[in-house]
């Protein structure tokens, strides 16, 4: 008998058969359970690939829930829940965890950039002191706000601005020394022009440069007037503003 056959024979009939038999049994049991586990894992993987609810059904139900869960109150109407393309795309991207493609982002940003309106009189600046008042003011557009009152800029909710104000939020980047850090020493200088135009566009429509920015579109959505935005421009860029000290 050759080696392997001899080995099997010994296993079944030889001296070791008695001692090895239960072990052989265990080995086969072990192999079976491994196979079983693999099968279960495979089934689970298949189940995981097909979600319980189809994405388009969930989208439809979400819209239905939005439609029937709210009512108008004072100036705040249910119709404001209507999403534009950028809000729709960014909501889906965030809830699904699948980031927008570079091309999609660019499309949204270009679409938003088109809405930017330059100041009517070509004058980009107002009063940085009034800008600071606006930055502090978080009121506006809730159903508990008085109708017809001007809205605040609510900048301090999310950004650091003047070093003196310690009560600032951290959802947005610090804007302390915004103008100074960008080399703005003279608002009339030609060198400052790109920063000035960028800042105006960012305040007018934040989604022009970041498709899913968390910042409101102050000009485009009519939250602030051109005059108010000019005050904020001064707060951010004027070398005499508390922001740039």
């Amino acid at each position: 008998m050759t080696g392997f056959k001899r080995f099997i024979f010994e296993l079944n009939h030889g001296f070791f058969s008695i001692t090895l038999y239960p072990m052989r049994h265990m080995i086969s049991k072990f192999l079976c359970s491994i196979l079983g586990l693999l099968l279960v894992a495979l089934l689970c993987a298949c189940a995981a690939m097909k979600p319980e609810f189809a994405a388009q059904d969930l989208d439809r139900w979400t819209q239905e829930v939005l439609r029937r869960s709210f009512r108008d109150e004072k100036a705040v109407k249910v119709s404001i829940l209507q999403q534009d393309a950028s809000n729709k795309e960014c909501s889906t991207a965030q809830s699904s965890g699948i980031e927008l493609s570079e091309q999609k982002r660019k499309e949204i940003e270009d679409e938003n950039f088109k809405t930017v309106v330059s100041p009517k009189d070509g004058q980009y600046f107002g009063d940085f002191k009034l800008g600071e008042v606006l930055a502090q003011d978080g009121r506006g557009l809730t159903w508990s706000d008085a109708i017809g009152q001007p809205n605040g800029g609510q900048c301090y909710n999310c950004h650091q601005l003047s070093a003196k104000e310690l009560s600032y939020g951290t959802l947005g980047p610090s804007l302390y020394q915004y103008g100074k850090n960008r080399g703005v020493t003279d608002l009339k200088s030609e060198v400052s022009k790109p920063v000035i135009e960028y800042t105006w566009a960012k305040l007018w429509n934040s989604k022009s440069f970041n498709a899913c920015s968390a910042m409101p579109r102050y000009g485009d959505h009519g939250i602030l007037s051109q005059v108010q935005i000019k005050h904020l421009m001064s707060l951010l860029l004027d070398p005499r503003s508390p922001v740039n000290q």
Binding site: E52, V65, I80, S91, Q94, S95, N157, L171, H221, I223
Partner: protein
């Protein structure tokens, strides 16, 4: 009831004095400690006698009292674990109820019981503004029910397909950007260690933040001296989000409750808590 009111007023006075004293001390140390530490200390100090306890007592009286057109108590109300079972009911809500064929949160379920057992008009109560009429009693009842699960871990059921569907809907609604400011719940509550002004923001997409955000309500709010249920808390969130006015017990608020509650799984309920 009179002694109740006196005790309550006395408690408020004492608390006001201690807060004043604390504010004075805090001013001198403000640079020595971080804001979060200071606020935590302030809360710890207020924890010494939570006015929410008074609402818990009131809620218990309401639960046991024969009331409504049918003059019956709420003691046979099924909050998900069987008629009259309070222990652990709150940490498993919102959940699906066979009789109404709806996923319901604590407040909407209380309205169902008030209608079916006591003969109240649930939709009339739902349309009543917060802090008025039966809505005051609903807040007290919510405080009472939640107190019977204090210290227990959140374990919302997800076995019924409707419960799983509501989780998925809640997740989508949490990330839905809309309104004049393009805000969603996630604008403020999807990142760690962020704040609005000096107010810390819980990250509700994870267990720790969801437990802190969801697991604390119903709560007594020191800033306005009111007992708020989760429905009222969400109403105020949505107001600041510049969303329209949410209907009491709407699917939006309940789906959001499922999303937050399921995310809190394993976290400990401290409701009814004390909030700034």
């Amino acid at each position: 009831m009179k002694s109740f009111a006196i005790a309550f007023e006395l408690g408020r006075c004492l608390r006001f004095l201690s807060i004043c004293a604390y504010m004075w001390t805090m001013c001198s140390f403000v640079h020595a400690q971080s804001t979060a530490d200071a606020i935590a200390q302030y809360r710890a100090m207020l924890q010494d006698g939570n006015p929410a306890d008074l609402f818990v007592d009131k809620g218990e009286l309401l639960w046991k009292a024969a009331r409504g057109p049918k003059n019956i108590s709420l003691q046979a109300c099924d909050l998900g674990l069987g008629p009259g079972i309070l222990e652990g009911a709150w940490v498993q809500l919102p959940r699906y109820f066979q009789d109404t064929q709806r996923v319901q949160d604590l407040e909407s379920r209380l309205l169902t019981c008030m209608q079916t057992l006591q003969g109240f008009d649930a939709s009339a109560i739902a349309q009543t503004p917060f802090g008025v009429g039966e809505q005051i009693n609903v807040s007290a009842l919510a405080a009472f029910v939640s107190s019977r699960s204090m210290g227990q871990a959140f374990l919302l059921p997800q076995s019924h397909p409707e419960e799983r569907r509501f989780y998925e809907l809640g997740k989508r609604l949490f990330f839905t950007r809309a309104g004049p400011y393009d805000f969603s719940c996630s604008t403020c509550h999807a990142q760690d260690a962020k704040r609005i002004r000096l107010q810390d923001l819980p990250n509700i997409t994870g267990k720790e933040g969801a437990t802190a955000g969801f697991g604390a309500w119903p709560a007594y709010r020191v800033s306005n001296g009111q007992m708020w249920s989760m429905q009222q808390r969400l109403n105020d969130c949505l107001r600041q989000q510049r969303f329209p006015y949410p209907l009491f017990g709407s699917d939006f608020t309940i789906a959001l409750g499922v999303y937050m509650g399921v995310n809190s799984k394993g976290g400990q309920s401290i409701a009814p808590a004390l909030k700034r």
